[in-house]
């Protein structure tokens, strides 16, 4: 039978994690429990659901710290996140539907870091930093360096994800987000895009552009970011579209085609840099 542990605090969780590398760590379970009745049970489970040390949203001077245990319902409803980190709130609203949003957590999404993880392009565009911890101590990793491949990350075997620290874009930065799924809700993404664009009037000073479901992991598109710098909105859209063309290699799968993904990714990116 599976051994069950619900840590009282982070410290107990970290010790358990250090001792039992083969135990499954879970929070809401929306990924790990899929078809669980037909798969072998893990030897042990560390249940982080509602662990108080991971369930917080702290609005700080220039950033917002979101605990790994925060659910998408909480993200979507949080007034500061809605106001300051719009792409993340919008992404939260389109993760699965009500039931999944109530259980799915930020920590789960970044822990799995699936290429179709709905919050991930937003975290990239907002230049979030992850805080992870082990009994060895805490460290921070920029999210753009987090993923190492298809559903693999820099999380060490003894570490837990603590929080995402998300810088609040300043007043000259406009943000965008769009998910294109297989249907209008409760869907897996075919293409996702997020952007944070810093403007001087209508000239792009700098930009962060991220795409999901386009590569084996969520990615920043630096070719686009470079191409739009110094361009006026509108013209920048064309430049972004052109720059994106050579920068991505999407694939065909059961949900969509490479051609479609490429074309829609271009449209989304161009739209982010359009005038209105």
């Amino acid at each position: 039978m599976t051994t069950y542990l619900r840590p009282r605090d982070l410290d107990e969780g970290l010790h358990a994690r250090a001792e039992h590398a083969d135990w499954t760590v879970l929070a809401g379970g929306t990924d790990l429990l899929v078809n669980a009745n037909h798969r072998a049970a893990p030897v042990g489970m560390i249940d982080l659901w509602r662990l108080a040390d991971l369930c917080f949203v702290r609005v700080e001077k220039t950033s917002v710290a979101i605990g790994a245990g925060t659910t998408w319902t909480e993200v979507e409803r949080h007034p500061a996140i809605r106001a300051k980190l719009a792409p993340l709130a919008l992404a939260a609203r389109e993760i699965g539907a009500l039931q999944i949003q109530a259980r799915g957590t930020l920590g789960g999404n970044v822990g799995t870091s699936s290429p179709v993880g709905d919050s991930l392009p937003a975290l990239l565009a907002l230049d979030a930093e992850l805080e992870v911890a082990s009994v060895r101590g805490h460290r921070r990793v920029p999210y753009r360096e987090w993923c190492t491949g298809y559903r693999t990350t820099h999380l060490a075997a003894d570490e837990l994800i603590i929080a995402a620290h998300v810088p609040v874009p300043d007043a000259t930065t406009r943000t965008s987000w769009r998910k294109v799924g297989t249907r209008r809700a409760q869907s897996i993404s075919k293409v996702m895009g997020a952007a944070a664009i810093t403007l001087d009037g209508d000239v792009v000073v700098s930009a962060r552009v991220a795409l999901g479901a386009i590569a084996n992991r969520p990615i920043r598109i630096t070719a686009v970011e470079d191409a739009v710098r110094g361009q006026r909105l509108g013209v920048a859209g064309d430049a972004a579209r052109a720059a994106l063309r050579g920068a991505i290699q999407p694939i065909d799968d059961v949900r969509s085609t490479a051609t479609y993904r490429r074309e829609v990714a271009e449209n989304l990116v161009a739209r982010f840099f359009s005038v209105s």
Partner: protein, 160 residues
């Protein structure tokens, strides 16, 4: 593992492996078969229950996680033979056809109505909100129209 939870207002204990899905514990160990399985992957919402005040898919919750928590299933939605406003409206409006998705829809809709998630919205907005909030519950029979009608009726009744 011994799991104690508050189920439909009563304290219940079960001896189960903690990885077992809440859905299976409800149906097999507790013989509460009102909660249905439609897919086992969190897509259809037929297994929706209210756990600690939130509508969740019971196929995606491990029973170990439910120790000490509050759970309402469709068996606890009506008070005896007195139906919840949502259940009443579903019957009156013809919102249940084959009925296999109905318990899940009743649970999700009762959450939406009881939490006042439609409060203050005009009819058009409320209908759009219902469509977004219920998107995790698939019904293949109705085309959703009569279910949306029912939830709007129930929301109005509860607000009054």
């Amino acid at each position: 593992m011994n799991v104690t939870l508050e189920l439909n207002g009563e304290t219940r204990e079960v001896e189960v492996t903690p990885w077992k899905r809440l859905l299976d514990v409800l149906r097999e160990d507790l013989r509460l078969t009102g909660t249905k399985e439609g897919c086992g992957e969190g897509e259809c919402g037929a297994c929706t229950v209210i756990l600690d005040g939130e509508a969740v898919n019971s196929c995606l919750v491990a029973i170990g996680q439910c120790h000490g928590r509050q759970l309402t299933t469709v068996e606890g939605l009506a008070h005896g033979e007195v139906l919840h406003a949502v259940q009443r409206a579903l019957v009156a409006c013809g919102g249940a056809q084959c009925g296999i998705c109905t318990p899940g829809i009743a649970m999700c809709a009762s959450h939406v109505v009881d939490r006042g998630l439609l409060a203050g919205a005009d009819d058009v907005t409320a209908r759009a909100k219902v469509r977004e909030l219920l998107a995790g519950n698939i019904c293949r029979c109705t085309g959703y129209q009569l279910i949306v009608d029912a939830i709007i009726v129930a929301a109005r009744e509860v607000t009054r």
